[in-house]
Symmetry: C2
Subunit: 357 residues, 2 copies
DNA sequence: TTTCATAATTAGTACGTACAACTATGTTGT
DNA sequence: ACAACATAGTTGTACGTACTAATTATGAAA
């Protein structure tokens, strides 16, 4: 037979599960329970200790024992999980620094992990965060242009009442999710218009096919071309993916795209600085010089952009600020506030990779 | 004042940490403890309950209370805390990436925080990690050349059986701590010898005064000068700190040091690339050119070193590897193995900042 | 109505006692 | 030599009492 304190704890567990007690309300004092169950106060305390270690109730000296039947328990330190595609490369250090700068002022700890843009890793990470729960998550979507196989896990986060927020890319399948993103469609337009303003008319583009950013930048790109009455040729568009980004310029369609440039194209819109750098190498290899033969514009304004030769003209967004906004938004969500999504604009940082015609 | 059961628990934790009790052996019965501490058996039980929930002891009814002095049970997800001075600047992204690459293959989560080289922040972080415990910690020491005010917290980690490991710098006050560091004394010697090999004899140095790395590099620096029969002049040494690193070259002793260089000094050993870059700016300002007027060698071989003009000759250590070694060592410590410290060597990456005389 | 002091209420700490359940060990009987 | 039993020692459960510390409610005073 179970000991009495076990029996009392079980009875209380059942009551709590059945919803006998309201959420934040105090419904059971030790004195009352002592009478109700006909046991000593010590035994009641022993039972409640079990519930407390399960996180079902919270005891507050002088006040009462509260059923924490619902959302969050906010015990001192707030645990925030951050899932990005990469941690320490490219523009991510800046974003992470922004996030950290906000979290460090609050009483927060940041658990950082990387997906390397693989949904399989995203799945593993989400499962870990579900197993040892956090108070909130900041997530950079993985391959957001493709149907995401981990939607069920995100819905589990919803059920567990763990707030989460997307940065850079999010999943359209998940309705009403909050996100902090750049206005990539507008960015695509701005890139084309910046080139057109310098007299370029034959404009090609390289885009990433598995990210929503790639699709949107392409969308803005082609919309702007149409708006300016410039031709949109399929053969002037080159697509790459996470998996072939290191090699696509040297093989298959990428190689064909490159060899077609001379004489057909004045300017190129690049998905981001990382690819722009690879492209510049490939162009040099092919005997084309930037910006004399081809002008170049890209996205992100990473540290590389100001360093390479020629220096890259690149669209910029405030990366630290980006992280700070995301972090403070998430903290508000954790404390129960509703938050709406933010969309941030791009600004051209003009350098040497665009030539006037 | 702490309640008695807390005091008893703390005393027992200390004893266990100090190795008073053998591992599997039962060494403490409630009756004995009751007499030893002069408290009631209930109070003893309350204390032991704390130890048990920490996994330090195991109670077996009818048998005794056993010190489980060994590895803690690896239940599911392993939480690893990482405390560095900075997260996203300089060489830290590489180190963090190394750590992450190991942790991600195991079932680990990484909680990342930065001290910005302030012991007050180190204190806050350690308190947080004690409050919501992790399975292990990788810590970069803060101002390791100065007496550390948070030693008591580190000893608490010992008592709690939470393994921790230092990288880059550690605290000599903490005996028998494990660390993964570079051989800074040898580095200091190598820097001087590399300059001397190019014919430099009048060699000055800039070092950080609040890190042990600074002291050791200086130690190797001056030992090498003496070994080569070269003069070691105090006025050829410039010290800076975390707090004045942005400004010291423009004021006070730093300014005086700079203005003394011309005509008195052939070559400079710099604490690291970050300071070397600032120095190069200051030298240009002062009308001195590198390497024509002054040769320069520094430490860390950061990404900057290959980019700036002139490109910096810098001592290098494998930063990713550094993080990987630290992480896998910690994981072994978490599973109960004893680990010894590692010291890694430096290798000169020669570029353009050293001129032959 | 606000402010402040006080009382009442509630959980936390600490001690004590008694007995139950279990384990280890030694003793006895076969 | 082996099994059954008894016993001492250990932790677990349960109750009781008394007091402390924190919070909340109350009521008087301003």
């Amino acid at each position: 037979m179970d000991p009495k304190y076990q029996a009392v704890a079980d009875a209380l567990r059942r009551d709590i599960a059945a919803g006998v007690y309201q959420d934040g309300e105090t419904l059971l004092t030790e004195a009352e329970l002592k009478i109700r169950f006909g046991v000593s106060r010590q035994t009641v305390r022993q039972a409640i200790a079990l519930l407390e270690s399960d996180g079902l109730v919270i005891r507050r000296r002088g006040s009462g024992t509260y059923v924490s039947h619902g959302p969050r328990k906010r015990t001192g330190v707030v645990q925030v999980g951050v899932i990005t595609t990469y941690i320490t490369d490219y523009i991510f250090p800046s974003i992470v620094r922004g996030i950290e700068s906000v979290l460090s002022t609050e009483n927060c700890m940041m658990s950082l992990s990387a997906t390397y843009n693989h949904t399989s890793r995203e799945r593993v990470l989400l499962e870990r965060f579900l197993e040892s729960p956090v108070d909130g998550l900041i997530i950079e979507g993985t391959k957001t242009a493709l149907p995401n196989p981990n939607i069920a896990l995100y819905e589990k986060l919803w059920e567990r009442n763990i707030p989460f927020l997307f940065i850079n890319g999010f999943y359209p399948q998940l309705h009403h999710s909050t996100h902090v993103v750049t206005d990539d469609e507008a960015g695509g337009r701005l890139a084309v218009e910046s080139l057109a303003a310098k007299g370029h008319t034959r404009i090609a583009g390289i885009f990433k096919s598995d990210d929503m950013q790639g699709h949107l930048r392409y969308q803005g790109f082609s919309a702007a071309l149409q708006g300016l009455g410039l031709p949109v040729r399929d053969e002037n568009i080159c697509w790459f993916t996470t998996e072939n980004k290191l090699t696509f310029l040297g093989e298959g369609t990428g190689k064909a795209f490159l060899s077609r440039l001379r004489g057909h194209v004045d300017a190129l819109v690049c998905y981001n600085d990382e690819i722009a750098l690879r492209l510049m190498d490939a162009l040099k290899e092919a005997g084309l010089s930037v910006p004399e033969d081809v002008s170049l514009i890209s996205f992100d304004n990473s540290a590389y952009a100001g360093i390479c030769t020629p220096r890259l003209s690149s669209l910029s967004h405030p990366k630290d600020e980006f992280g700070r906004i995301a972090a403070s938004k998430l903290l508000k969500m954790i404390s129960g506030e509703k938050e709406t999504s933010s969309v941030m604009g791009w600004q051209l940082v003009a350098r040497d990779s665009i030539r006037s015609r």
